[in-house]
Symmetry: C2
Subunit: 212 residues, 2 copies
Amino acid sequence: MRISELSAHAGVSPASIKFYTREELLPAGERTGYNQTDYTQAHVDRLRLIRALIEVGGLSVAAARDVLRAIDDERMPLPHVLGEAQHAIPKRSTPARAESVQRVVAAAAERGWCVSTDNPGVELAAGVLDAYEVIGRHDLTTTLPQYAAAAELVAAADLDALDRSGSREAMAETVVVGTVLGDSLFAGLRRLAQQAETHRRYGTPENEEKKS
Amino acid sequence: MRISELSAHAGVSPASIKFYTREELLPAGERTGYNQTDYTQAHVDRLRLIRALIEVGGLSVAAARDVLRAIDDERMPLPHVLGEAQHAIPKRSTPARAESVQRVVAAAAERGWCVSTDNPGVELAAGVLDAYEVIGRHDLTTTLPQYAAAAELVAAADLDALDRSGSREAMAETVVVGTVLGDSLFAGLRRLAQQAETHRRYGTPENEEKKS
């Protein structure tokens, strides 16, 4: 198909298609003549994946390129693909304090997790503990293990989805998409659960007013 | 204290202090003379909170202003403060498809959650389902309830932390900080749990090599 058809099918402008090709996120189409390039359904699928990663998952173009390369590299073992997907989170400029890193590692050890200290989740979680510390809140002693128990359920769900994916390429895509989009999916459900739990414990504000 | 001392204590530049004051995130200091303003410890604490929300939580200045106003408004009931904090997530330009919204609402109903349809979590989660749909993946039938069960644990942890906070102001701050920073904390722990679960199910790539 022509670039105009590809654009219509994938919902991506021709300018963006050219940009993603230049940035090596999208393979080039086949040159079939002067100023004419032929694209296939694989290009449509790839463009939709790019949009999901960047627009919904919030990845940078560079981060999207890294994870797409991991999907495409057939010799890369799946745990490594997962590592690439896990690293596709915005990095903070200041490293977390050693004490916070230690607390995260200890929370992981308490659950019997076998993890490496360069897992990007350590810095991410430790940065949050730092922020709590700075604003004078140290009340995460109970919260941290509760969150860790919930994270275990989500990780099991992520791996279950992987087992259902089938081919190596489908599995690699599931790892990447699931890791990147899973954060947003969970954040959404967490907000619903918070409202439900608030309602369960305290009733709605309207009910409170009726009671008084 | 002078603005230079405030800057040193909070780790925020004088230019940013003036910016946050203009943007109404930080109350103005007390004018004590020509070109001289006096600040208190409350300003230090507020600046640290602002930094945590913006730099670690990733809030926009406008979103931070909204949640800080909710903290400061002593007549606002806590469930409303929670609502403000929940809304402080980046909005997408295109609304989610009705079918995806329906799937999220159904997943919430299945857990017996009492939620309003304007909860921002609905759009957030439905947007992710949309993205999955667009890339041809419909395999969230099992994942969605598993994530919802985990979200319930996290929401309970969030509300437990709230119960421990004490004063109304401390509770309001806990609601806001916990909602905004909790997403990152969970995302970090999820990455650790994923690695641990991968290791548990498949062993490390090194072990795989040794086995063969």
